[in-house]
Point group: C2
Chain length 451, copies 2
């Protein structure tokens, strides 16, 4: 186990709080070792010295980089807060609450909070912070966990109005026991994995003893994600009340569930059959240069209208390797789509469970996802995209009878794409933060009865 | 001479740049020793270790204070930038450019500037910075000044289109020789006063030798203020171009002229006679408690409608001392105004030259100013204020035949007051920053011909 460390000093503590939140809210994968990232227009590097399953990561000095990746100086908390605010505003649509005049910014909070010595825009209840600071070894942590589940969590769960699993999760679990476990792990007092396993055991016993709470505790034990509160990256955030006073109102988002132990095995992506007029085939990679399919995908990806959204205008050799890599795994299948005998577009079909989207919403094991590019410019804008999306979604649902949803995640700023998914029958279910964009989670659900 | 010092490290340099600019742009008086100030909602303290006649002050650590004036921690530059932006936005009207959506903030500049290692939102030309860094003693400074005036300043002045004194002043003088002199003074290389006297001598020689530049050089030698460029506190500031890119566009403002050696002596404030129906008398301070006039002013100042704008709802003893102090000096005269035999309001008449406004615009020696409060609530809102203001302005112009202007400086947010001045014949000439507000500079000019 790596012992988590905090560098001395309030400023590092403040930047670390912000960085942890930004990483969680943008669903950015974290691993021990060097980490480079871009927040708004600010490029940063740090070392992850403690990689936490609950997101309570520990960092070495967090440095601002110049244009050539050279460290300029240690990032100040207010600078990082400014970058986070600019980033969140740019990700969100112009009419989102966070972009409203008078919504304030994280900086307004910080200017207000610093004289009060407040460090976290969404601080935990003080008694939990006290526990996290005072518990001194693993045995004491286990005793605290036991008393917390019996004396506090169980009564609160039994008293919660059934149905509101997301609200209950944020209030009772992610901002309760899980946050404390993370702080103890970073302090080096416990192995988080041990305490998480103990918590899961206790929750299983609770669910068995009290069937009336299974609706919530079962969710905690099995859901791929759990609801937490965001303070940096939700388009619905505001930092000022209508009255003008500073008030950070957290908004819900989903984080990976560290209590879930078993991930069901699902087969790879099925190849759908599309409707009349359409054809679909996996890309063929042949020979040293990849062959004609690779050349075609490479050409499409370098067309301006595709490149601006996909940002993958790579050389042909890189596309050859990318496509060969996808074909060798179970995550996604790259395909070429034809219409009336002519190749017009590229789709990637993927299992959500194996995709970055798995961190973003409570997917079902068989959920499938789709990325799409109409490569031929003259095939755009006459409903071809939405017709193709409907054909692909219906084809996938037919090909995997256990799949209940086909999803996609276009950038919220890509109104044409969001509109095409909508026209194809996808519903906009949520807005999710990813490392470089906010995406509209678009969901095409299997019709409720028959087909 | 106090040797200016800069604490080691970029962050202190950055906060110092911002603090210097904020002090200059809000016309805040500075003297060596402790300095407390409030920027937006942020309360700060520092020690002024070098008090510069050109505004190039040097500071000790700049600390954030908590609610009980205890130091919390050293202010980060980005935090101070955030506070300055919030302050500038709050001072300005909602429809000012700085409050426009997309105008950006000083923080946007800082996030953009830090990777470029830029420190000042309105940096000097690089060759002048190099001079300010490299000159090593007073003799070398004098030689540089000589060559600068002959080789650079004079050609530039002679080539400038006559008439635009404010533009020429900022471009050639305040952001030229004066800035370099300040930097050399803070470095301890020169006594600024010596170099300023030498510059004034050279400018006098230039004006004598080249009558065609007297319009500009004469202004530099005699004007009470000189134009500089603001980056923190102008309501017309924007930090983003319409295209969205970061671009700090400085806006003109006036600073005290350190080249002006003689301040003409002017008599104290004359007591005007007002028109029919009006009366005006200086406040009488009598006896231990001040007597009935002091009591009256104290009562008015504690009425809500006056207190909200004057912020002087003091105890009666404090008002007695304040009024006695004013009556003992030549700066201002406190008066009670009557209408049709009834005391209705309070005015303070002042010589601009002796007032804080003297730092804010190029006043003439005999300019007079007025503060007004209608103390009796039932005398408000029927044109009484504007009628009184016109009567006072005309009375002052009649009482001092050398006075060409009567001025006032209501808060730009006090629309009722700004409107009353306008109705009374005052023109809105400028918006000026003061330590706790942006004021509309309202000017009642003597009619051009006769009277």
């Amino acid at each position: 186990m790596t012992t988590g460390v905090d560098l001395a000093g309030q400023p590092h503590q403040r930047t670390s709080v912000l960085l942890r939140r930004w990483l969680a809210e943008t669903h950015t994968p974290v691993a021990e070792g060097p980490l480079r990232l871009t927040v708004g227009s600010l490029r940063l590097r740090t070392d992850v010295v403690y990689d936490s399953p609950t997101g309570a990561h520990g960092f070495g000095p967090i440095q601002v980089l110049d244009a050539t990746d050279g460290p300029v100086e240690v990032a100040e908390p207010a600078l990082l807060a400014a970058a986070c605010s600019a980033d969140a505003r740019a990700r969100a649509l112009p009419d989102a609450p966070i972009n409203a005049a008078g919504s304030g910014s994280l900086l307004d909070w910080m200017v207000d909070a610093l004289p009060r010595r407040a460090v976290d825009p969404l601080a935990l209840p003080e008694d939990l912070v006290a526990v996290a600071r005072s518990v001194s070894d693993a045995a004491e942590a286990q005793r605290w966990l036991s008393s917390h589940v019996e004396g506090r969590l169980l009564p609160a769960v039994r008293g919660w109005e059934p149905g509101d699993a997301t609200g209950a999760t944020a209030a009772l679990l992610t901002r309760g026991a899980l946050a404390v476990i993370g702080l103890l792990g970073r302090r080096g007092v416990v192995h988080e994995a041990d305490l998480l396993a103990a918590l899961a055991d206790r929750l299983r016993a609770v669910a068995e003893a009290y069937p009336d709470v299974e609706w919530l505790v079962g969710h905690w034990l099995t859901s791929p994600t759990l609801t937490d509160l965001a303070a940096l990256n939700g388009s619905r955030l505001r930092y000022r009340a209508e009255s003008g006073e500073i008030r950070v109102q957290g908004v819900p988002f989903e984080v990976r569930n560290p209590l879930r132990s078993e991930v069901p095995n699902v087969p790879g992506v099925p190849i759908p059959e599309l409707g009349a007029g359409w054809s679909l085939r996996p890309v063929r990679v042949e020979g040293a240069d990849g062959g004609p399919d690779v050349e075609l995908v490479h050409r499409w990806m370098n067309n301006g209208h595709v490149a601006v959204n996909w940002d993958q205008a790579w050389p042909v050799a890189q596309w050859r390797d990318e496509l060969a890599g996808q074909l060798a795994g179970q995550h996604s299948v790259p395909c070429i789509v034809g219409l009336d005998g002519r190749d017009v577009g590229y789709v990637e079909l993927y299992r959500v469970q194996r995709d970055k989207l798995a961190r973003c919403y409570s997917y079902e094991p068989h959920d499938l996802g789709v990325h799409i590019a109409i490569g031929e410019p003259d095939a755009i804008g006459r409903g071809v995209g939405s017709a193709l999306l409907r054909a692909v979604a219906e084809g996938l649902l037919a090909a995997d009878r256990e799949c209940g949803r086909v999803v996609a995640e276009p950038n919220v700023h890509n109104g044409a794409s969001v509109g095409a998914f909508g026209k194809a029958g996808f519903d906009r279910a949520a807005e999710v933060g990813l490392p470089n964009k906010n995406s509209a989670l678009m969901v095409f659900a299997r019709p409720a009865s028959g087909e």
